[in-house]
Each structure stands twice: as structure tokens, then as C-alpha cells.
């Protein structure tokens, strides 16, 4: 005997096409024009901030930094679909989502200047700090989701992971744990086609990354990650159904810039590939949509950019005025300071090591 043991498929969503035209049948009913303007401003902010941080890094005023340009719609669409109490679990390129969720801009700069204090306000915005070891944040998200369910809270956990991150064991372990326990966990695969120099087709032979959800027995969908309305829609739907269990959402986007400021993409990828994606720019299409509706114009674009740049400059000045206190390293290892640590701290003070 032979029969089909399993049949499955992955749906792809796009609400706004590359020219800003809307598929009305999929348009999320709760999404007002004002909200789309806010999303656009938030995307613009992420792009302006990215450019500014890159310039600071090149001047030696920020450490190695992972730009997000090109991936704004994936991050902002997700952040706007989240409710206030929902919890954000980022990887390391999600400053767009972070800031849209209310992270103080000064914290962002402190982090990328290399100070732990930049992570010290993430709890206020219901988020985890930046996670650098790829994919290892996913089990945390599953555990946080378990705690919400255990306490019977209507809270969803939204975790970001990259295309490369889906190759990590922790990715599968986490969605599997979430599946078995029917947890309110939404995994956003920010598939920007590149894991440093390794392209998507060398990362997995799977036709979509969303179909990895099938192996965990949970829902998986794919969306145009440069379509902010499409991303908003699928994330909102997943959050609305989070009590029924987890969802994996693969957002198809593109890393327009380098992995981090320490690499040169021209070494490993053809410029033509990048050009192809320029036509799909996430800001351009929503900008065109808003302009066509009379909700946006050049004057508004300039005013928004000027305001954002002023905010950024103010936060940079604050972050650059930060004075690190080496004692804070010793005081935050345990809930108490063990004698052996106290002695090391005292030795550092006595020998003027920090002066």
C-alpha cells in the first residue's frame, strides 16, 4: 500500500504591489490612512537613522554596526501589528522594530557605541536586548511565550530571525517546543537573502523557509517583506490567532547594504542583484500610495526628515556624553557581589587601573 502521508502548502501574500497598488480583498480593515502615514514615517526614520549611524561608524564614533536599509517594511509592519503588551525578541538588525516599539533613541546609540547601558531599558518596551549569536534567541521567545500561557495572559511573543538563523538548531528546537505546547509565539523570518556572504540558495534546499513550520506542525506563511501593509496583515492575523498556537512568517526582503560595517558585499554578490531589488524598495511603494491619495508630498517628506535628524542629533549628543562606570560591570554579574569579585574590583580601584 502507498498513500499520501501528508499534504501541505505555503501561501504567499502581497497586499501592495511594487507600484503602490492595493489588493483590496486582502486589505486589513483596521488599518487607517493615518496609521499608514505613521508607518511610512517610521520607515523613513529607520532609513535616516541607518544612514546617520553608518556615517558615525565611518567617523569612528560608533562600533561595528548592522545596517537594515531595505528591510524597513518587514520590521515596521511587524512592530505596528503588535499590541502594546506583546513582546519583541529581536536578533541584531532590528533597530527599526525596536524604535517603532518605543526604545529610547539614546539607548540605541549607547548600544552601538558599545555600552551595556544601551540594553538597560528594553524591559520597559517589552523587549529582549539585541541577541548576537544567530538564532539563539528563539528558545527564549518560546520560554517567554510559555510564561504568558502559564499565567493566562493574552500576550503574543514576536521573535525575529534571519534566513541564516533558520539553519540553526535552536530555530527548529524553538518552533517545535512552541508547537508541542501551542504557544503564542510568532517567528518572523526576516529573509534578506544573505547570511553575510552566503546566499539564500546555499542556506537551505527548501523552496521556502516558511515551510520549516510544517516540520514543527505549525502554521507557516510567506509574505512580500517589502510590502509594509502585507507584513502588517499577516502579523496581525497571527497575533489575533496566537492563543490557538504559533505561526512562522517568512518575509521576503533584501539586504541592500552590507552585513555589518566590517564587510564589503562587492566581494561576494553582483551589483545587478542589488539593482533588481531597488525596484522593489519598501519606502518607494508606500510613498507612492500615500502621494496618490494626497496624504504625502515633498514638503512633508522634508519636514519629517528634518525633525527626525534633529531628534537623532540630540540622542547622539546624549550618548556621546555618557560616562561609563566600570563598577557597573562588577555589580551586575549576580544578585550579590561575591567576595572573590569584590576583591578584583577593589584591586582595580587601588591600582588605579580604571583611571
Amino acid at each position: 500500500m502507498q498513500n499520501k502521508a501528508f499534504e501541505g502548502s505555503i501561501d504567499y501574500f502581497q497586499v501592495m504591489d511594487e507600484n503602490g497598488a492595493i489588493d483590496k480583498s486582502l486589505y486589513p480593515q483596521d488599518l487607517s490612512d493615518d496609521r499608514i502615514v505613521e508607518m511610512y514615517k517610521s520607515m523613513l526614520f529607520a532609513r535616516n537613522l541607518d544612514a546617520k549611524t553608518l556615517s558615525l561608524q565611518r567617523q569612528g564614533r560608533a562600533d561595528t554596526f548592522a545596517p537594515l536599509v531595505g528591510e524597513e517594511a518587514t520590521q515596521i509592519g511587524t512592530a505596528f501589528a503588535m499590541r502594546k503588551d506583546d513582546i519583541l525578541v529581536p536578533n541584531f538588525r532590528q533597530h527599526g522594530a525596536y524604535l517603532a516599539r518605543g526604545l529610547p533613541l539614546e539607548s540605541y546609540f549607547l548600544y552601538w557605541k558599545g555600552y551595556e547601558e544601551g540594553n538597560s531599558k528594553v524591559k520597559e518596551i517589552n523587549a529582549l536586548p539585541v541577541i548576537v549569536p544567530v538564532g539563539t534567541q528563539m528558545p527564549h521567545a518560546a520560554g517567554i511565550a510559555y510564561a504568558q500561557k502559564y499565567r493566562n495572559k493574552d500576550v503574543a511573543v514576536v521573535a525575529f530571525v534571519g534566513d541564516g538563523g533558520t539553519s540553526e538548531g535552536d530555530f527548529y528546537e524553538a518552533i517545535n517546543f512552541a508547537g508541542v505546547n501551542k504557544l503564542p509565539m510568532i517567528s518572523i523570518i526576516e529573509n534578506n537573502q544573505w547570511a553575510i556572504s552566503v546566499p539564500r540558495n546555499r542556506q537551505s534546499a527548501a523552496q521556502t523557509l516558511a515551510q520549516k513550520a510544517i516540520a514543527a506542525g505549525i502554521k507557516g506563511v510567506q509574505v512580500d517583506g517589502n510590502d509594509v501593509i502585507g507584513v502588517y496583515k499577516v502579523v496581525k492575523d497571527a497575533i489575533d490567532h496566537a492563543r490557538d498556537g504559533p505561526t512562522v512568517i517568512e518575509c521576503l526582503t533584501y539586504r541592500m547594504s552590507m552585513h555589518t560595517t566590517s564587510d564589503d558585499p562587492s566581494k561576494y554578490r553582483p551589483e545587478a542583484d542589488v539593482d533588481k531589488w531597488k525596484a522593489k524598495d519598501p519606502l518607494k511603494r508606500v510613498g507612492a500610495y500615500l502621494r496618490a491619495k494626497g496624504l504625502w508630498d515633498d514638503a512633508k517628506e522634508k519636514q519629517a526628515t528634518d525633525e527626525q535628524m534633529a531628534r537623532i542629533d540630540e540622542a547622539v549628543a546624549k550618548a556621546e556624553a555618557f560616562k561609563p562606570d566600570p563598577k557597573s560591570m562588577f555589580e551586575n554579574v549576580y544578585s550579590f557581589i561575591p567576595e572573590v569579585l569584590k576583591e578584583e574590583e577593589d584591586d582595580a580601584v587601588k591600582s588605579n587601573f580604571w583611571m
Partner: protein, 321 residues
């Protein structure tokens, strides 16, 4: 009540879970099966499957999910079936459990107790007998505790469950059922970070912990010697003060552990004593541990783990110096 270490740990969990509903146990086979050593036996029936959770067979996510639970206000107690399998969750412990407090400057903390059986001597399969305490003590940020008897096991676990820190609770497999002790019915604390004199004497000092405590005791008794035998109980943070106090009195130090000798806990203790009490010593410090290679198959373990003869010979050397 007169119980062995398995019973003491089970009882400590039971009493703590009754008082604090943030405590959630998770791991492989800990529910219906009660754990492969039956340490969690009966707890599923008492507390239900939301609090005693059988997980998929995946150590990294058992620890990783526990970290998430801890940051979200629970106090998880993950069990890793054997310490040899905990290396699959090593990254989560080192990269995350040990660091969230410091890298958020105290904004997020990871209160959890990771339980795992350690060390050998009971003829188990490969990867079931490791003594990995030095790895976890080296990094900082993780508290590493290892009881050597039922009384300490209950008290140390009770204390660990009150801490707002990640604690590794290493349970010597060989001591699980080796002997019983009278243990109070009610909860009590054995302080974390404080070593214990299991014997007091003046000829020399032995610093030890875990499986080696009863072996050292027997050798000292058989040889009718007078020694301070110090059971560390907590490996990290190290109770340096108690060690120095004893060494300054006896002038002779022997360190005994089952873990591999090289780059181990013994080396750390020897270095600290050399730095701070060199001139109180009347003999070179001696360390006894297992040979410096990975744990062998069970057929060879008796040639590998320090035994009474090896410890006795080390004491003779120490006293004849």
C-alpha cells in the same frame, strides 16, 4: 525523615513548589516517568502538567526556553538528563544565562536552577559520567552548586530556588542512593557560597566536593589521621576564606575531585592558596583528580576515577614532605 539524596531533592522541590507557583519543572521524561533517576517522581500528579513539563528531546531549547521563562517572571527548574548532554545547551548557558543580568545592567535577570546528574562510578554508558563543573565555573555569572549528602542537597536546593540568579545544581549520580540521612521535614536553607567542614583536624587540609567527599572521609578515618576535610558545596563563587583559614592552620593542602585534573577546580584553588598563603605552607600543594582525558567507557572507569588508594598515597606524600 530518613531519606537518600533522591528523596531529599524531590522533597525540596515539592515544598518549594507548594509555596511558589512561579516554579516550573521541565525536561526529558521528568513527568510520567519521574525522571530517569526518579528525582521528580510523583510531582506531576501533585502539580499538573503545566508545572511538570515533559519536553521534546532537545537540550538547547530546554535551557533556552527556561531562560525565557525566567526573564518572563517564572522560576524554571530544567533537568538535563545527564551532564554529558548539557553541552548541547552549553551555548545557552554561557552566552545567555550567565550574561543577561550584566548585559542589561540588571534590567533582565535569569532566576533558574538547572539540575543535572554528574560524575561516574555507577557503570553507565558513555557520556553519562562527566564532571563538568570547571567549564561552568570558569565563565562567571553562573552559580555552581554540588551537594554530597541528602541534608545538604535539600538545603542547598531550597536556597537556590530563592535566588534571583542562574544556578547549576550538580547532583552526583553515585551519591543519589548511596546512603540515607535524617533530614528535617520542613524547609531549611544551606547557604550558597559557603563551604562546610565535614571533619576538623590539624595535620592537613583536604578540599573536596561531590563524589569524593565520602571517599576522602573514609581514607582519613581508616588512616586515623586528624584533618580538616572541607566540602565546598558551592564551587562558584568559591569560599576562599574558609580554605585559607584552614590552610593557614594546617600548613598542608590536598585537593581532591573526580573531574579531570588539568585546568580544573583544583588548579584554581591551588593558585589562590599559592597567592595568598604560600608562606603558611609547609609542603607543596597536591591535587588528585581523574586523568587528563575524556571519561572512558564503564569497563575502565575504576582505573580512571580517584580511589582510596590514590588519595591515601597522596596524603602520605603530603605528610612526608
Amino acid at each position: 525523615m530518613n531519606i537518600n539524596m533522591v528523596g531529599a531533592i524531590n522533597n525540596a522541590l515539592d515544598l518549594a513548589m507548594r509555596k511558589d507557583d512561579s516554579i516550573v519543572l521541565l525536561g526529558e521524561d521528568i513527568g510520567k516517568d519521574g525522571g530517569v533517576f526518579r528525582v521528580t517522581d510523583g510531582l506531576l500528579d501533585k502539580f499538573g502538567e503545566n508545572r511538570v513539563l515533559d519536553t521534546p528531546l532537545a537540550e538547547s531549547s530546554i535551557i533556552g526556553a527556561s531562560i525565557g521563562m525566567a526573564m518572563a517572571g517564572l522560576h524554571p527548574v530544567p533537568e538535563i538528563q545527564f551532564a554529558g548532554f548539557m553541552f548541547l545547551g552549553f551555548g545557552q548557558l554561557i552566552n545567555h544565562a550567565a550574561r543577561f543580568r550584566s548585559r542589561t545592567r540588571g534590567d533582565l535577570t535569569v532566576p533558574m536552577v538547572v539540575r543535572t546528574p554528574v560524575s561516574g562510578g555507577v557503570k553507565t554508558l558513555e557520556h553519562h559520567s562527566e564532571s563538568p563543573e570547571a567549564f561552568y565555573s570558569h565563565v562567571g555569572g553562573l552559580i555552581v552548586v554540588e551537594p554530597s549528602n541528602p541534608y545538604d542537597a535539600k538545603g542547598l536546593l531550597t536556597s537556590a530556588l530563592k535566588m534571583n540568579d542562574p544556578v547549576l545544581f550538580l547532583e552526583p549520580t553515585k551519591l543519589y542512593r548511596l546512603f540515607k540521612q535524617d533530614v528535617p521535614e520542613e524547609q531549611y536553607d544551606v547557604p550558597i557560597g559557603k563551604a562546610n567542614y565535614v571533619k576538623k583536624g590539624d595535620q592537613f587540609t583536604v578540599v573536596t566536593y561531590g563524589t569524593m567527599v565520602p571517599v576522602v572521609n573514609k581514607v582519613v578515618e581508616d588512616k586515623k589521621l586528624s584533618a580538616d576535610v572541607i566540602d565546598l558545596r558551592t564551587i562558584n563563587p568559591l569560599d576562599e576564606a574558609t580554605i585559607l583559614e584552614s590552610v593557614k592552620k594546617t600548613g598542608k593542602l590536598l585537593i581532591v575531585h573526580e573531574a579531570v585534573l588539568s585546568f580544573g577546580v583544583g588548579a584554581e584553588i591551588a593558585a589562590r592558596v599559592a597567592e595568598k598563603a604560600m608562606f603558611d605552607l609547609s609542603a607543596p600543594i597536591i591535587r588528585v583528580g581523574s586523568a587528563s582525558f575524556p571519561y572512558p567507557m564503564p569497563g575502565y572507569e575504576n582505573y580512571y576515577i580517584p580511589n582510596e588508594k590514590k588519595i591515601s598515597a597522596a596524603i602520605d606524600r603530603l605528610l612526608s614532605a
